[in-house]
């Protein structure tokens, strides 16, 4: 490869006129800034509104906060561990233990079903609604237990376990609670709050544990955690490991994605739409109406010539076109060769032939021949006339 494509010398560099109007960067600074702020806001909403969900307390999870170790040990002891995600009153029959590993995830219907059942319950850090439904009279206290303490109660499992890793919630008992309820691992607060509460409700045993830590793989082998949890869960040969999952919606009651979104995600963008309206108002309001002006007529001077050329072409007027070209050249040659204007074609042909050395017949045909039969020969005639003019020059 030797030749590189040359840029045509005629191409003028595109000129960008310097204007006094602000450059686009400056002009769009405001809207871009607003857009960035809105994005930032949306991000903030997303971060704040996303609840943290983990796979904690799952009987099949080997992660530090899972509970696979506990489930295996229980099975080794002959307790049938059955993980369930939904329960009805029939399944949770008396004589079974139900470990409610995540009470806050229960729907109202699931909670009611559990309340109607007869199984013994172990509630791990229940929320207010669960306490009210399943352990009436027990109330949560906003106290965190300092360090492992002694059970200080008569519950056999707690007595066997001794100090455990209970660092979560604490509970008090209302005076309405029938006697016989056990309060273990007291926090030492004047209200008598304790981290583990066992009471009988409608003929079954409900145990409220303030913290899920003792159940986890992480610390099951430390202190009395294993003893406590095995004692609580191994009372019956059947253990239902209840990790509530909201049941699928009934046909006809399915909810769309927008209904499942937190309301902030719906109404925030609605407000953004309103903001879009405000931007439209802001940018759309003109500073005064458009100014009009009567402009003078503009007629390109060469328009009639072009029009006539198109007419020639459409009519195929090669005779006229050729005559126009020839008379131009004849006039030119007459001036150059000094042939008088009125002398006619003959002397002109002779003079031109004499100057150029071309055969007079050819020059004659060129200057005053018959009209060309088609467009290509018209083009050729124009070229020949040009060559004749150049030769005379």
């Amino acid at each position: 490869m030797t030749a590189t494509p040359e840029t045509p010398a005629t191409s003028a560099p595109a000129e960008t006129p310097e204007t006094s109007a602000p450059r686009p960067l400056v002009r769009w600074r405001g809207p871009v800034l607003i857009g960035a702020l809105v994005l930032l806001g949306a991000l903030l909403v997303a971060v704040l509104a996303t609840p943290t969900r983990t796979g904690a307390m799952r009987p099949d999870s080997a992660s530090p906060d899972g509970a696979m170790a506990l489930a295996r040990v229980l099975e080794g002891q002959g307790v049938r561990v059955e993980p369930v995600t939904d329960l009805d009153a029939a399944t949770a029959a008396p004589g079974r233990t139900v470990l409610v590993a995540a009470p806050e995830r229960m729907s109202t219907r699931q909670r009611d079903a559990l309340a109607a059942s007869g199984a013994d319950l172990v509630l791990v850090r229940p929320d207010e609604a669960t306490l009210a439904a399943l352990a009436p009279g027990v109330r949560a206290e906003p106290i965190e237990l300092p360090e492992p303490v002694d059970p200080a109660c008569a519950l056999p499992a707690a007595l066997r376990a001794g100090p455990v890793d209970l660092e979560g919630g604490a509970y008090t008992l209302d005076p309405t609670v029938p006697p016989g309820a056990q309060r273990c691992y007291p926090t030492g607060s004047p209200t008598g709050a304790a981290s583990l509460v066992e009471l009988g409700v409608h003929g079954r045993t409900v145990t409220v544990v303030g913290d899920a830590t003792p159940f986890t793989n992480d610390v099951l082998d430390e202190r009395g955690n294993a003893a406590l949890t095995l004692g609580l869960l191994g009372a019956h040969p059947d253990l239902l490991w209840y990790l509530p999952v909201p049941p699928p919606a009934e046909p006809g009651q399915e909810r769309g994605a927008s209904e499942l979104l937190p309301p902030g995600w719906v109404w925030g963008p609605v407000q953004l739409l309103v903001a879009g309206l405000a931007v439209a108002l802001w940018r759309g309001r003109r500073l005064g109406p458009v100014v009009t002006e009567d402009l003078p007529v503009v007629v390109p001077a060469g328009e009639t010539v072009r029009g006539r050329a198109r007419l020639y072409r459409r009519a195929g007027a090669r005779d006229r076109a050729a005559e126009a070209l020839r008379s131009d050249v004849r006039r030119d040659l007459a001036t150059r060769l000094g042939v008088p204007r009125g002398a006619g074609v003959g002397p002109l042909v002779d003079a031109a032939a004499g100057r150029t050395g071309w055969p007079p017949a050819a020059v004659g045909a060129l200057l005053a021949g018959p009209p060309p039969p088609d467009d290509p020969s018209l083009v050729a005639l124009a070229g020949d006339l040009d060559r004749l003019g150049d030769a005379v020059r």
Binding site: V270, Q271, W282, V291, G383
Partner: protein, 435 residues
């Protein structure tokens, strides 16, 4: 009433508030409603636009002039007689071809004070340009919303012809001085006048000896003659259809005005009197009997508002106007077209009456594009165009030759060449004593 970007930003930020704290339709309504109320209050707190006093720094009705291609600063004064500080955005709106910049001004006028903003006009077109209105946006104290209103603050700028051919003037003036100094005409003839008596030197024509003066003197004395001064030049500009054609970027009329200006500048320096007439179906402008000092200003002022019209020029009116205005023998310079039909049907019938009393020069703006088209080669379309251009040129040439045959001085040149060509032809006529 108008809202600002700040308002839009507030509404957008309210999305955070609604999304995090108040996620409901009611929240959107309440928040947006509160912001609208805020904007309304802000607009109400703004200084009323009507209370502002706006004026130009000049007498109303005064006309400022600027030459086409140059810029002009136009001030606008804003007085705030109220007791609150006015924060303003204003647009001094002119007709678009006045080229006003910047498009908007921001200014703060403290209570009881006056501020001045300056717009720069760079007109793109000849003629009178008017200030249309001043639109004022008065921002509220929070800058969230504004009141908007307008004031009519009339002003007019007269955009004069560019007179680009000025650069040819020095060389033509030099040639004219040469003409004067050469005293080419020592014999009395048409178009010369008596200049002075001087001593005979060898080589002078003996026929120019003034015997009566020689008798009174010890020496032989000859009379000298010089080209006549105080001749009359009447420039007639055709503003009809033929002036509307656009050659290159400008209409033919612009070249015609340029030609008239150069000729007028030259002729008035040469001691001739120059009058101007512009007409199509009626007289559009006329400058008659202006003294040499005020000739050019009055010419450009008269020319400024001229626009070509798409009508056929009334040549009978033209001849009648010329005959009525030019009493003595004059050089009549017609700046018009060389269209065959217009000349044959319009000009030629009245030419006789003009030629009987005056010297007539016809200046026409040629289209250089015609030559380009005539030289076009390549495909059939280019050849047909070349043929049509050749026909047009031949017709033009024919008309020019026929007019020249009747004694009209014909100058046919491209727009930028026409002014010097006409000036040269004028000098030639002057040298020949044919004025």
């Amino acid at each position: 009433m108008a809202v600002t970007g700040r308002f839009a930003l507030l509404v957008a930020l309210a999305a955070l508030f609604v999304g995090l704290l108040f996620p409901s339709g009611l929240g959107v309504l309440v928040v947006s409603g509160a912001l609208v109320v805020l904007a309304l209050a802000d607009a109400l707190a703004a200084v009323p636009v009507r209370s502002l006093r706006l004026d130009r720094e000049q007498e109303p009705g005064a006309v400022v002039t600027v030459r086409l291609g140059e810029s002009l600063e136009v001030p606008l004064r804003v007085a705030n007689p109220g007791r609150r500080r006015a924060s303003l955005v204003l647009r001094d709106a002119w007709e678009p071809s006045a080229g006003a910049a910047p498009p908007r001004h921001r200014l703060v006028v403290p209570a009881g004070e006056r501020r001045r903003v300056v717009s720069t006009l760079t007109p793109t077109r000849r003629g009178d340009r008017d200030a249309v209105r001043v639109t004022v946006r008065s921002l509220g104290p929070l800058g969230v919303a504004a009141r908007q209103g307008r004031h009519p603050v009339p002003a007019r700028v007269r955009v004069l012809p560019a007179f680009g051919s000025r650069r040819h003037l020095p060389s033509r003036l030099a040639r004219m001085r040469e003409l004067d100094g050469r005293r080419a005409v020592q014999i009395r003839g048409q178009g010369t006048e008596f200049d002075s008596l001087r001593e005979y030197v060898a080589g002078d024509d003996v026929r120019s000896i003034d015997w009566r003066a020689s008798a009174r003197s010890a020496e032989l004395v000859v009379r000298t003659w010089r080209p006549e001064r105080d001749r009359q030049v009447l420039v007639v500009i055709d503003t009809g259809r033929s002036a509307a054609g656009r050659v290159g970027d400008a209409p033919r009329l612009d070249a015609a005005l340029d030609t008239a200006l150069l000729l007028a500048a030259l002729a008035s320096r040469g001691g001739d009197r120059v009058d101007l007439l512009a007409l199509d179906r009626e007289v559009r402008a006329s400058v008659l009997g202006a003294t040499a000092g005020e000739l050019l200003p009055s010419l450009v002022t008269a020319m400024a508002p001229l626009e070509p019209r798409l009508v056929e020029t009334d040549m009978r009116l033209l001849a009648a106007s010329v005959l009525a205005r030019a009493g003595r023998r004059s050089l009549v310079v017609l700046v018009t077209g060389l269209d065959e039909a217009a000349v044959v049907e319009g000009l030629e019938p009245v030419l006789g009456s003009l030629l009987r009393r005056h010297t007539v020069m016809l200046a026409a703006v040629a289209d250089p594009g015609l030559a380009t088209m005539a030289a076009g080669r390549g495909d059939a379309e280019a050849i047909y165009t070349a043929a049509a251009a050749g026909t047009a040129r031949a017709a033009r040439r024919g008309v020019a030759e026929r007019l020249a045959g009747r004694g009209v001085e014909v100058v046919d040149a491209a727009p930028e060449d026409l002014p010097p060509a006409v000036a040269d032809r004028y000098l030639a006529l002057k040298a020949a004593g044919r004025l």
